[in-house]
């Protein structure tokens, strides 16, 4: 009886400890998020999203201008890459907001499931 209960008890305790540790671990980054939300909350977020968006457009325009200069295809590179940059900016913002899967995570389940679900 005591033998049967001992490991069970130990397991239960270990599980409880793990749960407590996990709770604390997730709390640590969460605390930083909370500080963000309280202190510079909306401002920080707005700056992050807008910088992502603007960076996409600026890089697209710069690439297009550079390609035009190299290849002498005067307005077309700029036009095409500005549009691509616009798309990249939108993608950046959606990624920063966590609405689209990141670069790395490409599990087919997530790809087929997540974006449609969110939309």
């Amino acid at each position: 009886m005591a033998d049967g209960q001992e490991p069970d008890d130990l397991d239960g305790r270990r599980r409880k400890l793990e749960a407590a540790l996990a709770a604390r671990r997730t709390k640590e980054p969460g605390d930083a998020e909370d500080a963000k939300a309280n202190g510079t909350g909306g401002f920080g977020n707005a700056l992050r999203l807008s910088s992502e968006f603007i960076a996409g457009i600026v890089v697209g325009a710069a690439l297009g201008w550079f390609i035009d200069r190299l290849a002498g295809t005067s307005p077309w590179g700029l036009i095409v890459f500005l549009l691509l940059g616009f798309g990249a900016g939108i993608l950046n913002v959606l990624r920063a907001a966590g609405l689209v899967a990141d670069f790395g995570s490409q599990s087919p389940k997530k790809d087929g499931d997540d974006p449609r679900e969110r939309r």
């Binding site: 992502e52 691509l84 990249a88």
Partner: protein, 249 residues
């Protein structure tokens, strides 16, 4: 003289040096970068030199910083990413100390110059690209081809992904630089109100209490922003390094 909010960002050459037509002058920016690096390493060295088994207060600050960055990197990039720990730790400490030094009056804020932050961001992205190609060869390029995209759309999606990848250093550097620049300008403008208002006699001096309180509040906010931006930079660095370590998983 002190009311110009932009004046604090002026670079002045202290020791002009020119090698082969290039300007290598030792400016106030270089001086404060040296101060940042020296004070950060001196702090870490001196606080850990006693090697107490039970850490004192200062030693535990160093150890907490270490643990903080180590767990952040391990969570984002796995144990294979730990080889980049020195890079991420140095970046975090450098940016943090530079930001915090910038809060002191009359000090130069190194991270309020986009060339500095852009160089740091290029270092990160350059590491990602070089290590990615070195480790995975051309398999690294699979990063730009998301799975489950219809064949006709692949060229368009790849082009957008590449532009998005290239925009990372820009957004990383612009975020840090803009935060520091905007914060310091706001601080200076509100501090300028104090002197301007107190020139209007007694009523003005009484009114100057409000911008003074605002200045104190913004200084506290600046300290928070200094930590937050160093943290954000380090987190994003970890995320980008993750792409180099495990390009598709």
């Amino acid at each position: 003289m002190a009311t110009d909010p932009i004046e604090q960002f002026q670079i002045s050459n202290w020791i002009p040096i020119e090698i082969g037509g290039l300007d290598f002058s030792f400016s106030n920016a270089s001086a404060f970068m040296v101060v940042t690096a020296v004070s950060a390493s001196a702090f870490l060295y001196l606080t850990t030199s006693s090697r107490g088994l039970v850490p004192g207060r200062l030693q535990s600050i160093s150890e907490m910083t270490y643990e903080f960055i180590a767990s952040m990197l391990r969570e984002a990039a796995g144990s294979k990413g730990m080889r980049f720990f020195p890079l991420v730790f140095s970046l975090f400490v450098f940016i943090l100390v530079a930001n915090l030094l910038g809060v002191f009056p009359y000090f130069f804020t190194v991270t309020s110059h986009i060339i500095v932050t852009f160089a740091l961001a290029l270092l990160v992205v350059g590491t990602v690209i070089i290590y990615g190609f070195y480790k995975h060869g051309f398999g690294f390029l699979k990063l730009f081809v998301p799975e489950g995209v219809p064949g006709a759309l692949v060229p368009l999606v790849v082009a957008i992904e590449i532009v998005s990848f290239l925009s990372r250093p820009v957004s990383l550097s612009v975020r840090l630089f803009a935060n520091m620049l905007a914060g310091h300008i706001t601080l200076k403008v509100f501090a300028g109100f104090v002197t301007t208002l107190s020139a209007f006699g007694l009523a003005g001096a009484a009114g100057a209490v409000l911008p003074l309180a605002m200045t104190i509040a913004i200084t506290a906010l600046e300290v928070l922003v200094a930590f937050l931006q160093a943290y954000v930079f380090a987190v994003l660095t970890c995320m980008y390094l993750n792409d180099a370590v495990n390009p598709s998983h």
